[in-house]
């Protein structure tokens, strides 16, 4: 096999000691910037790109792969330990991961995230190596009705995070949807809900809402109810490592998360959010320990983290095979590749095969380096929880400010931070779930655009929404999710009633 031989040549380069060192440095820097709340992978890579300009092309690629995976992984540490997800892809990780950390299982949560990221990254890179062309075709197969149906499915399946009170869950969801409508409407160019403020033309910045709701809301809430005692739990109480049961419960979510994340990441409108939502929902339905969900179930960390990392590799598929950058991260990668004379596209493997194989080999190495760097650090990271509370929360605020102020230098974002932070406080006091706000804010605008595109193409015919086989199947699944559980419980109730008479 030519591909295998070429890949081995790539490895021969990537595994040289000096290149391994570059991989380590890249991974470290990627993780360091990636942990900042509000600074996602795209920005991390963009910020660190100039650093790679001073080294030789192959070394630069290797460093680059490290930055890429380090940036993707960085967000999970703060999500798990401090309940402050910094980007949308690690929000679902925070839901269960932080509950685990509070029970003293933080090390296990970090470990399953790190190993899950490694497993998903490796499988997805294998997929990229051998299956890229067929996976890339997905970009052409998906039409607006398909995207809309996929988003409908994501909406329905994440209804599991709505919390105990459905009404308050829906209010949270609708608040997110309402926020998502602000700004210029892309389909018509009309200004919506901007109230004449130019700063609102670009809409509500998702990461600002995310960081404010989680980090600022939590700080206000804890400050107002602080017991004053020193940290009362030992972060290592549950053992520094994953138990046998943890392994048994993690490996399937890793694989499922990979299977969900990789293909969706390869779609032009896929992103990392929908895969993590779907993975979380799937694990919650499939788990053997449903009672643990919402209180720190390891599956809820393993699945979404794997999905997040797999979607990152998925982004590379249309980029390398078609030259199509489908996300901000991919656009930055494209620019970096072009720096070294790589022109991604259909002819990439023919024109510059050796460089591409070095890059792909680097992805494997970068991924491994991430694991080597992060597993030993797990014990160190959990010690973050020993920081005295005044300094821990004050530090969180500073990191949140770096993220929020550093992205756009916008006063409106700071005002939003305060306002949304207060909202997060009220929501905690009156037991409104937090996650649905973000789900509404992320999925709402995507779903609206696809719905209006699909209807416009079908000239207003609602049947256009199920006009493709894929959309028909997905919509049918949605209907089943809505209809089957009530019907089952109704029949069960009837049977019980019949049995008692």
């Amino acid at each position: 096999m030519d591909a295998l031989a070429a890949l081995f040549d790539g490895f021969a380069i990537a595994l040289q000691p000096i290149n391994l060192m570059w991989a380590l440095i890249g991974t470290f820097m990627g993780t360091a910037v990636g942990v900042l709340p509000g600074i996602g992978p795209a920005l991390t890579i963009a910020l660190l790109l100039p650093v790679t300009a001073n080294v030789a092309p192959t070394s630069a690629f290797i460093m680059f792969a490290g930055i890429f995976y380090g940036a993707m992984y960085g967000g999970s540490t703060t999500s798990i330990l401090l309940n402050t997800p910094g980007e949308s892809g690690s929000m679902m990780t925070a839901l269960e991961g932080n509950k685990m950390a509070r029970k003293g299982r933080g090390a296990a949560a970090l470990a399953t995230a790190a190993i899950g990221s490694f497993v998903a990254g490796t499988i997805a890179t294998l997929g990229l190596t051998f299956l890229a062309p067929p996976i890339a075709e997905l970009a052409f197969i998906f039409t607006p009705p398909d995207y809309f149906a996929l988003m409908l499915l994501a909406f329905l399946s994440v209804s599991v995070v709505l919390g105990a009170s459905r009404v308050r869950g829906f209010i949270a969801l609708f608040i997110g949807l309402a926020l998502g409508l602000m700004g210029i409407d892309s389909q018509s160019g009309v200004q919506r809900l901007t109230f004449g403020l130019p700063a609102l033309l670009d809409g509500v910045e998702m990461t600002v809402v995310l960081v404010s709701l989680f980090a600022i809301g939590e700080t206000l809430y804890v400050a107002s109810r602080f017991a004053g005692q020193p940290p009362n739990l030992n972060p290592l109480a549950g053992g520094a490592w994953m138990t046998r049961a943890d392994w048994r419960r993690s490996w399937k979510p890793w694989l499922r998360g990979t299977a969900i994340g990789f293909p969706i990441g390869a779609l032009p409108a896929g992103g990392s959010e929908i895969p993590t939502f779907l993975s979380y929902a799937a694990e919650r339905r499939l788990t053997a320990h449903p009672e643990e969900f919402g209180h720190g179930a390891i599956e809820g960390v393993a699945g979404p983290e794997a999905a997040n990392n797999a979607s990152a590799a998925g982004v590379l598929v249309p980029l390398l095979t078609l030259g199509l950058p489908t996300s901000a991260t991919a656009a930055i990668l494209l620019a970096a590749f072009q720096n070294y004379g790589l022109q991604p596209g259909p002819l990439l493997f023919i024109n510059s095969g050796d460089l591409v194989w070095a890059l792909i080999a680097s992805l494997y190495v970068g991924n491994l380096m991430l694991l080597i760097l992060n597993l030993p650090l797990v014990g160190l990271w959990v010690r973050l929880l020993f920081i005295p509370r005044p300094y821990l929360y004050a530090g969180i605020l500073i990191f949140a400010l770096v993220g929020i102020w550093g992205v756009a230098n916008s006063w409106m974002d700071l005002a939003m931070m305060f306002g949304v932070g207060l909202m997060g406080y009220v929501m905690r006091v009156y037991d409104f779930p937090i996650a649905p706000v973000l789900i509404g804010l992320i999925l709402g605008p995507m779903a609206e655009v696809q719905l209006r595109r699909a209807l416009a193409i079908g000239q207003g015919d609602p049947m256009a929404l199920v006009s493709t086989p894929l959309s028909a199947v997905l919509v049918t699944i949605c209907v089943l999710i809505l209809v089957v559980p009530p019907v089952l419980s109704w029949r069960r109730a009837r049977r019980v009633a019949a049995g008692s008479t």
Binding site: Q187, S188, G189, P198, G203, P325, A330, Q343, N409, I457
Partner: protein, 316 residues
């Protein structure tokens, strides 16, 4: 002696200051992989290759609404920053008119027009339409049934679609136009047959046409475009010629020194070899116009676009 030491120290500090990388802050008011994105990134590559500006740059992509979303953010975030530039072009001029944007090009510092990107009309390879005449005939039969994709609502692509309809004696307001964030999104949509046709720049569509994914039916320049086997719209009997020029503006309230510094860099880049290579690989036509000439051109362009948009009923 002491004075020399201080002098030497000062010199060291100054050189260290100069040597420290000071990356430019760059806004691309379009989705990743689109025209504004390339317009933002490519000049920096060329300037770095020719050693004109080597401090690198941090890019922000803000697509949608003809680029006015990106413009608003650029103006909000970078007032008085001599190191901040933004890629822009004809779509932004139209977008400001269409959206009645409170932030306009009056708020920024015009630098230069750099290139022109000829538009192309394309369909998927599996499409039944072989020529532009086939497409226009289908539009005449059922205008709503022919969905045409392209960049943001009211942009050059939208205007071109409306002008084609008008040229065929149809109501330009009734074109079923589907706005996408970038040409990269529109190209997968026609490639997979989700929409009937799409209009975008040569630079975005040519690679996919070369790969056999899409078929280019016509180009929107006056004459045929070298390397593309398709007639111009004028040649096909539709009296439409429209280009998508692109260039750079600087931050609001940029200092005169800052403006001169960028004009100087761009002029040197334009004369350099690396830029010629970029023009070639991107399929762009050179359209360099800097300084005061560009300011005058912007005024003309604004008046022209307002006229066209009014004619086709997109603004009142």
């Amino acid at each position: 002696m002491i004075r020399t030491l201080i002098g030497a120290a000062a010199a060291v500090v100054t050189t260290a200051g100069l040597a420290m990388a000071d990356p430019a802050v760059v806004m691309a008011p379009g989705g990743p992989g689109g025209g504004y994105d390339a317009m933002a990134r490519q000049p920096f590559e060329a300037m770095a290759a020719d050693g004109i500006f080597t401090d690198g740059a941090t890019f922000t992509n803000r697509g949608g609404a003809g680029g006015t979303i990106g413009l608003a953010e650029f103006v909000n975030a970078n007032r008085g920053n001599d190191n901040a530039v933004m890629s822009m072009g004809s779509i932004l001029v139209g977008g400001i008119l269409l959206n009645d944007s409170p932030v306009t090009l009056e708020d920024v510092t015009p630098l230069a027009r750099l290139i022109n990107d000829t538009g192309v009309v394309a369909v998927g390879t599996n499409s039944p339409f072989q020529t532009i005449d086939d497409l226009v005939a289908a539009m005449k039969e059922n205008l709503g049934g022919v969905s045409i994709g392209g960049g943001s609502a009211g942009g050059v692509d939208h205007i071109a679609a409306a002008l084609i309809a008008q040229g065929a004696g149809l109501d330009p307001k009734a074109v079923n136009y589907i706005a996408y964030d970038s040409g990269a999104d529109a190209v997968t949509a026609i490639g997979g047959g989700a929409i009937t046709a799409a209009i975008s720049g040569v630079s975005e569509f040519k690679p996919m046409a070369d790969a056999g994914r899409i078929r280019i039916l016509a180009v929107t320049s006056e004459e045929r475009f070298p390397g593309i086997d398709a007639p111009s719209l004028k040649e096909a009997g539709i009296d439409v010629a429209i280009g998508n020029w692109r260039g750079w503006v600087g931050a609001p309230d940029m200092s005169e020194e800052g403006r001169q510094m960028w004009l100087d860099r761009l002029t040197r880049m334009h004369e350099g070899e690396a830029w010629q290579k970029v023009l070639e690989t991107q399929g762009w036509e050179d359209a360099f116009l800097a300084g005061e000439d560009f300011v005058a051109f912007l005024e003309e362009e604004k008046a022209r676009q307002a006229g066209v948009l009014r004619d086709i009923g997109l603004i009142d």
